[in-house]
């Protein structure tokens, strides 16, 4: 019998377009994009130039301030373009993929027989270190730290998220090797949060498993940390996604940097929502046959398709020319929101729209799934309604007070109110339900940036 945690707060957003449990056609080799902007606070130092040949596992850029942290190519091929933005900020490294992937060979090994230093070194040189995220702040872990514990959430509860029982079922061996490796990195436990005892990952050895029962954000690792062992000031914990545990396992079992992952392609604008095996950095274009690319009609007006790398709560709008982020395991396609809806707010019924509150009547149709779009559904206002955020944050935190402390740039208050315990995704549902349409995640980002700057 595993430890049970029952969460009552939260919300499963009823979105249409969940991926069916079947695999779609893998995209043909094309362009793979590496984006230093996927990593919070990273100042990259480029190690390749246009025209260079790379193998899967070759270093492409490194962290300027922790030069042992490498970011390596997920595929073999030729560096086709280096895209820079304002002030020459490094935005993208585009690698033209070879037809057959050549892997750079790393040393194989059995993690249980390796020392902590050897494991850290293997992860750093292979490019898998960035998979380990440090809390507080949600930044890449510092290899010099020893975390209090490592947390792994073995399920994703976000809207239309991939089902890890399906995508990781064949990777259990590698994941077990990955767990054996990261166990060496902490002085404490490796905690695993699962959705149910029958989950395929619940049988891993060497972890302390907890069952988290409840609506989203039960699958967010931040929520799980808050219930298992909340982060205090001065403490550091690490988190890692099970997909990366599988990649770590492959590194030690096969000696290769193989971060291929099975992602969900979902959303109301996905023509055939299903799963597909891709590399991080795969372009939307390569999967274009899986989306309805010519937009659609809302309220008699034409709107385009929005392509999101990640889920609709925390993902990034990457556009048709964009690519899958390093930490993302799904593409979601929805309709854009630039249309007018006459008298929308005062219509008694708006059958196509969902509201968690009862002033619309979507509570009468609990099983219905909605074709949601990117309209803001209102205008931005000050904080007015109270008690709503608290209903979707299953943590011992007062979200509105934390947000106001961030807005006031009051560092002491932020610390006291729990800035160390949250990252954007943990309060994303607040943003969804907010009738004042406050950009909650943006505020949290600013707060974290301030803390990193002030505490450095």
């Amino acid at each position: 019998m595993l430890n049970q945690v029952r969460l009552h707060k939260g919300l499963n957003i009823p979105m249409a377009g969940a991926a069916a449990l079947k695999m779609g056609q893998e995209p043909a080799p094309g362009v793979i994009v590496m984006k230093p902007t996927d990593f919070r606070c990273l100042v990259p130092k480029l190690m390749v130039k246009e025209g260079d040949k790379v193998q899967a596992g070759s270093v492409v850029f490194i962290d300027k301030f922790h030069q042992d942290v490498c970011f390596t190519s997920p595929c073999s091929g030729t560096v086709e373009a280096i895209v820079r933005g304002e002030k020459r900020k490094l935005l993208e490294i585009r690698i033209k993929q070879d037809a057959v992937t050549e892997y750079l060979q790393f040393a194989k090994g059995t993690p249980s027989k390796l020392s902590k230093e050897e494991i850290v070194k293997a992860l750093l040189s292979s490019g898998l270190w960035p998979a380990i995220i440090q809390r507080p702040y949600g930044i890449i872990a510092n290899p010099a730290d020893t975390p209090k514990a490592i947390f792994v959430s073995a399920f994703d509860s976000a809207p239309l998220a991939p089902d890890y029982n399906f995508t990781l079922a064949s990777d259990i061996q590698d994941i077990q090797t990955g767990v054996d490796a990261i166990r060496k990195l902490t002085g404490g436990e490796v905690y695993l949060g699962v959705a149910s005892e029958s989950s395929v990952l619940a049988k891993l050895n060497g972890v302390k498993a907890y069952v988290f029962n409840g609506p989203h954000p039960a699958g967010n690792v931040g929520v799980q940390i808050n219930h298992i062992s909340p982060i205090g000031k001065g403490e550091v914990v690490w988190t890692i996604n099970p997909n990366f545990l599988a990649a770590i396992g492959r590194l030690f079992n096969k000696g290769v940097y193989d971060v291929a992952r099975t992602i969900a392609v979902a959303g109301p604008q996905a023509s055939n929502p299903c799963y597909v095996k891709v590399l991080p950095g795969v372009c939307v274009e390569a999967l274009s046959s899986m989306f309805v690319n010519d937009g659609g009609q809302v309220c008699g007006q034409h709107v385009d398709t929005r392509y999101i790398s990640g889920n609709v709560l925390t993902g990034k709008n990457v556009g048709f020319l964009g690519s899958l982020g390093f930490y993302d395991f799904q593409f979601t396609a929805i309709l854009e929101g630039d249309y007018y809806e006459a008298f929308g707010w005062c219509k008694p019924f708006r059958p196509g729209k969902f509201s968690v509150q009862r002033s619309y009547f979507s509570w009468l149709t609990p099983g219905k799934k909605y074709n949601m779009d990117a309209n803001l559904n209102g205008g931005k206002r000050a904080f007015v309604v109270t008690g709503l955020y608290e209903k979707v944050v299953p943590m011992d935190i007062y979200p509105v007070y934390l947000l106001k402390a961030i807005l006031a740039n009051d560092i002491d208050k932020m610390e006291q109110l729990g800035i160390y315990e949250v990252i954007e995704e943990d309060l994303a549902l607040c943003e969804y339900v907010c009738p004042s349409k406050i950009d909650v995640q943006n505020i949290v980002s600013n707060g974290i940036a301030t803390m990193i700057k002030e505490m450095a």
């Binding site: 957003i13 979105m15 809207p159 909340p230 205090g232 000031k233 008699g300 007006q301 609709v312 709560l313 925390t314 993902g315 979601t332 929805i334 929101g337 630039d338 249309y339 007018y340 809806e341 006459a342 008298f343 707010w345 005062c346 969902f354 509201s355 509150q357 009862r358 002033s359 619309y360 779009d373 990117a374 309209n375 803001l376 559904n377 209102g378 205008g379 206002r381 000050a382 904080f383 007015v384 309604v385 109270t386 008690g387 011992d396 007062y398 006291q416 109110l417 729990g418 954007e424 549902l429 943003e431 969804y432 339900v433 907010c434 009738p435 004042s436 349409k437 950009d439 995640q441 943006n442």
Partner: protein
């Protein structure tokens, strides 16, 4: 509908930056977003959003206010016909009341929204919807005979001093509607208390016009004057029981008399989750608690000797606890704080009623007082959370 969208789209450029009427941007925006849900896209953070917005919140509150308002209109006619001994039909009474209340609503909205639009324009903000509710509540908590100019001044005071100087909806400390009433109460006391202002036309009635045995006192002022519960009487001098006070066909401010109509509003607010049931429940508990304590050993013939539940059905208690104490901006914001805040609102209201020799109604002052202390209550609740966190910190 396509035509309307095109029409507004054609107008839009003149009101945008660089356009001829760019200085009227906020006003145009207010009407534009009134007609349409704007085409604003989510740009950062969550890509999909709940379809609830502040306009909808305010609409639901107005719907919840409607039963009390409609009953209030009918009751204006009813009380008038009783006072003057007129024989009026149901619809006749309603129509009479409607025509008397409508000017109050119009003045309240025109003055209040005028100031809201002007200040939004000055700040370059969007116009906030907050006043849609305040503008409806203000006439409902006024006596029907209040002069329109006093109402206009009170509204201006409430919106400017109560709201706009703090930064608009969401930033105010005190409930603007109550501030309007407090303004009239302290500046023009004779216009909001006494026996002749609650019924339309009584103030100007010639001798002999009114029915025999007429008394314009509200139930609460009769109780405050030492009349026993079984001797309370209606406008026409008939005995009045508790049931009649629940139904609400008695003298009082326009919207406050009917507990039943207010209860319908309360159900709507609680069911839609717009107002906090915790504040309502703990408010009622607080009032009953103090009324019960006050009643122990109370002298016959004082308000304290009344059964505790009378405090819930007399005066503005029901209206205040349902529609004004629950104002999310000015009430306590933490869930635990709401219990404490509500309890104290109810308790203070009865304390003022029982132990204030000057004026029997305590709801207005009680809510304003607790509005002032709501941030303090929240402070203590949040401090508890902070202490828990500090305790487990490794580095102090």
């Amino acid at each position: 509908m396509k035509g309307l969208i095109d029409f507004v789209n054609n107008l839009r450029p003149s009101f945008e930056k660089g356009g001829k009427y760019a200085w009227l941007h906020s006003t145009f925006d207010a009407f534009d977003s009134f007609l349409f849900v704007p085409k604003t896209k989510t740009c950062c953070g969550a890509h999909v959003r709940d379809c609830m917005d502040l306009k909808r919140v305010m609409t639901v509150v107005i719907v919840a206010l409607a039963p009390a308002m409609l009953f209030g209109m009918w009751n204006v006619g009813e009380q008038h016909s009783l006072a003057f001994g007129l024989d009026m039909s149901f619809w006749g009474k309603f129509w009479y009341g409607f025509l008397r209340v409508l000017p109050l609503i119009i003045v309240s909205y025109v003055v209040g929204l005028g100031i809201e639009f002007a200040s939004a324009q000055i700040r370059g903000h969007e116009v906030n919807e907050g006043y849609l509710v305040s503008g409806m509540i203000i006439p409902m908590i006024m006596p029907v005979d209040v002069p329109l100019w006093i109402l206009a001044v009170a509204v201006a005071f409430a919106v400017i001093i109560g709201k706009e100087i703090f930064g608009g909806t969401g930033m105010n400390i005190w409930n603007p509607a109550l501030l309007a009433r407090a303004f009239v109460f302290f500046s023009y006391p004779t216009k909001i208390s006494g026996d002749v202002i609650w019924i339309k036309g009584v103030g100007k009635a010639a001798a002999g016009e009114l029915v025999d045995g007429f008394s314009g006192a509200t139930a609460l002022s009769q109780a405050g004057a030492g009349i026993a519960p079984d001797a309370l009487h209606t406008v026409a001098g008939q005995p009045m029981d508790a049931m009649q006070m629940v139904i609400g066909n008695m003298a009082g401010s326009i919207g406050e008399t009917s507990v039943i109509a207010i209860a319908i509003g309360a159900l709507i607010l609680i069911y839609t989750g717009i107002a906090s049931w915790k504040i309502m429940v703990s408010g009622v508990a607080g009032a009953l608690f103090v009324a019960f304590l006050g009643g122990i050993g109370a002298q016959e013939g004082t308000l304290a000797a009344y059964p505790a539940y009378y405090h819930l059905i007399m005066g503005g208690f029901a209206f205040g606890i349902v529609f004004m104490a629950t104002d999310p901006v000015t009430s306590a914001q933490t869930e635990c704080g709401k219990w404490i805040y509500g309890f104290l609102v109810g308790a203070m209201a009865v304390v003022i009623r029982l132990w204030n020799p000057g004026y029997p109604e305590g709801m207005m002052l009680s809510i304003l007082l607790m509005n002032t202390f709501a941030p303090l209550i929240d402070h203590f609740v949040v401090s508890r959370n902070i202490r828990r966190r500090v305790k487990r910190a490794v580095v102090k």
